[in-house]
């Protein structure tokens, strides 16, 4: 049996959590930022506000390293608009009313694209800051996938759906090309599950994802969540030039397993086995069992690399619970477990 490198990987956790709970952080930001729509992060925040985010970023990087994760992220703390962030802060985008973020009790400003989405550099700047603090072999970039980003936004410039996702893809390619060296890039694509593309659009979504993946030398994981991909969307996604697909084994483990059984998957895989939206902290043993359950059920000889990860972003959790989740993840995926498997 080939050796499996079961690498633990933590995907996109935002510590709105971290910021709110760093001593004084919440109060400082409340005073500096305010509570209204116009007070959200816009990419041109004051040095005082930036300093608060920088301290919070250091804190969440420390949290991840102390937990013992193999991959760490910069935390996406500035993403007030969640996955829509890169558009909401862009000069060619106008932000309208507050709209619901998928089926959650969370809201983001609806981005309306009103001009050419040229290079911005906001994502790269945050990643650069993190790269100064951690080794590139443990750093992971996180981006919204092109399909989800276009799904969350409204087009008032490109004209039709195909042109819009192409414009968004060009934009993401430019952003990713500016990234410092990272080991992994996670592209988050919940919309592929929640609001799946229809005929034609499914193919375009996969092409878009492939183009973004080509913009980096990092290993690219396209992570899907809040259920399982439809068979057709899954099949198209496997055509994209990516290294791994991420599956949600919390929301619908049977359907996720079915997809891999029926259609296979890439050489590596990401398994979302920790619930990012419940304060119930999984035991390390439970996490290990879930990973083994997937591996045992599949008629394959194991994966090149298994990313063990929460199914969703972690910003839904109070900060104490997200730290407990990280610790459980790290323990479950420790080398001892791998060699024992």
């Amino acid at each position: 049996m080939p050796t499996r490198a079961r690498e633990l990987q933590l995907n996109y956790f935002r510590a709105s959590i971290g910021v709110a709970n760093i001593k004084g952080g919440a109060g400082i930001l409340r005073n500096l930022k305010g509570h209204q729509k116009s007070d959200l992060i816009d990419g041109a925040e004051s040095p005082e506000i930036s300093a608060v985010y920088d301290r919070a970023r250091e804190r969440v990087l420390t949290d991840q390293r102390e937990a013992g994760l193999d991959r760490v992220v910069e935390g996406q703390l500035r993403w007030d608009d969640m996955l829509a962030h890169p558009l909401c802060i862009h000069d060619a985008v106008d932000t309208k009313g507050i709209v619901r973020y998928y089926d959650n009790n969370n809201f983001y400003r609806e981005p309306v694209v009103e001009g050419d989405l040229d290079f911005d550099g906001d994502l790269a700047a945050d990643l650069e800051t993190a790269a100064e603090a951690v080794e590139s072999e443990s750093l992971q970039a996180v981006i919204p996938g092109p399909y989800s980003l276009s799904d969350l936004a409204t087009d008032d410039y490109y004209g039709d759906e195909a042109a819009f996702i192409e414009g968004i893809t060009d934009f993401l390619v430019g952003e990713v090309e500016a990234f410092p060296e990272t080991e992994t890039l996670f592209a988050l694509e919940p919309s592929l599950v929640v609001n799946p593309p229809g005929d034609g659009a499914d193919e375009r979504a996969s092409e878009a994802i492939g183009r973004v993946a080509e913009a980096t030398d990092a290993e690219v994981v396209v992570h899907t969540y809040w259920g399982a991909l439809s068979e057709k969307v899954h099949a198209h996604l496997l055509d994209a030039a990516i290294d791994a697909v991420g599956y949600d084994f919390v929301s619908d483990h049977e359907a996720s397993l079915y997809n891999i059984s029926e259609y296979g998957t890439k050489e590596s895989v990401a398994l979302g086995v920790v619930d990012g939206q419940n304060t119930l902290v999984e035991d390390p043993e439970t996490i290990t069992e879930r990973v083994e359950w997937v591996e045992e059920k599949l008629p394959v000889q194991g994966f090149d690399r298994t990313y063990v990860t929460p199914n969703s972003e972690l910003f839904y959790l109070p900060v104490a619970k997200y730290r407990e989740k990280l610790a459980a993840l790290a323990e479950a995926a420790s080398p001892a477990e791998v060699s024992a498997a």
């Binding site: 709105s16 959590i17 919440a26 007070d39 009790n105 969370n106 119930l280 910003f315 109070p318 104490a320």
Partner: protein, 381 residues
């Protein structure tokens, strides 16, 4: 996710409370006459009220900060006194505006889930989570079986009822919303948690009724997020209404949703009144409620809760007549779209005052026959 029930599985509507059958119509209409003030100037009576929350006086927010600071010496007794003062003030403000059924503006409640979770054994708090932008709430976790310990709102009702000269409405967060907006660590699924909480809400409503409450509004904003769960909300309401006397008016408030996904199923809910926000998008969804016939009392939002501009009386009158396209005047209640707590207080008061003035004007027009009310889509008989 949640159970794949649909309307066909429901057992709702077989209770003895108003359930969308002909008996229900009479009950709804009679329970509202109790709210007609003795000096009501018109023959027609459109019940005016608010959804619930109201802007807090600034000093109350300062008092809350003091109360949260252990070193301040501002103890629980001081806090109770502060909230009582604020409640008295807001009840008075509601009466000044001329509302027929008043609320204390929820002065003692911090947030619509947190407040109840603090009073329900089985809940724990682990810290704040983001809602949007830099707005957070202390989202609780259910870590054990939920239970009823001591009354949640009876003290609030007793006080409000004592200081009010008008009838008091009691808004209470519904079990479906309490379940949806919590982390569920204990129950098999959210649905089971919602039913367990519904039993507790039933006990609380019984306690409120024993204390003299005659108008209770169940708030279920979470239904707007997941309208396909309407059967779960219906089942919760059956549990809540169980054993509650017919002369107690039970309302259901839902806001900012796609109502076509819960109508007409909601007509089977054992409630007297359905309260919806429609002014917000200028009654674009009004037609949803005309087919089939609307058989509950309609509590219609006639002023927007999220714009600070005070709608002129003429505009509010026009909005009220929108309601008459759905129900007859004796089945119409009018209120703001939603809780007013995010508005400047002057704007909240101005909206209520114009709301009452407009309702009285519409009643006058109806009395005189000046208002041509098309009979709402009526049943075949």
């Amino acid at each position: 996710m949640s159970a794949d029930r649909d309307a066909g599985d429901r057992t709702g509507g077989d209770g003895d409370r108003a359930s969308g059958d002909s008996a229900g119509i009479g009950e709804g209409a009679s329970s509202r006459e109790a709210f007609r003030p003795p000096d009501h100037p018109n023959d027609h009576f459109i019940l005016t009220t608010v959804v619930g929350s109201y802007p807090k006086p600034k000093w109350l927010n300062r008092a809350r900060d003091l109360h949260a600071d252990a070193d301040s010496g501002f103890d629980d007794g001081d806090w109770a006194e502060a909230t009582s003062d604020a409640s008295r003030l807001i009840v008075d403000e509601h009466e000044c505006a001329g509302l027929d059924a008043v609320v204390d503006g929820e002065m003692g409640r911090n947030e619509m889930v947190e407040y109840f979770a603090h009073r329900i054994p089985g809940y724990e708090f682990h810290g704040r989570v983001k809602v949007w932008g830099h707005n957070y709430f202390d989202k609780p976790s259910v870590v054990d079986e939920v239970a009823y310990d001591e009354p949640w709102l009876v003290d609030e009702f007793d006080f409000t009822n004592e200081v009010a000269s008008r009838p008091v409405k009691v808004p209470i967060t519904g079990p479906y919303t309490l379940a949806s907006w919590s982390f569920n660590e204990y129950y098999e699924n959210e649905e089971e948690l919602a039913y367990a909480l519904a039993e507790l809400v039933n006990q609380e409503v019984e306690a409120l009724v024993d204390a003299g409450a005659r108008y209770v509004q169940i708030d279920e904003p979470a239904l707007a997020t997941t309208p396909d769960d309407h059967a779960i909300v219906g089942e919760c309401l059956e549990l809540i209404a169980d054993g509650i006397p017919d002369d107690v008016r039970i309302g259901l408030h839902v806001c900012y949703g796609d109502y076509s996904r819960i109508y007409p199923e909601m007509l089977d809910f054992p409630i007297d009144e359905f309260d919806v926000e429609l002014a917000n998008d200028d009654y674009a969804q009004l037609d949803v409620f005309t087919e089939p016939e609307f058989t509950k009392d309609l509590a219609l939002g006639v002023v927007d809760a999220h714009t600070a501009e005070i709608e002129p009386v003429e505009e509010v009158k026009r909005n009220i007549t929108k309601g008459l396209e759905v129900v007859l005047p004796e089945r119409l209640t009018v209120s703001p779209d939603c809780g007013l707590k995010l508005l400047p207080r002057e704007a909240a008061y101005g909206k209520m005052k114009n709301l009452v003035e407009a309702a009285r004007a519409v009643e006058r027009d109806l009395d005189r026959g000046d208002l041509d009310v098309a009979t709402p889509a009526s049943a075949d008989d």
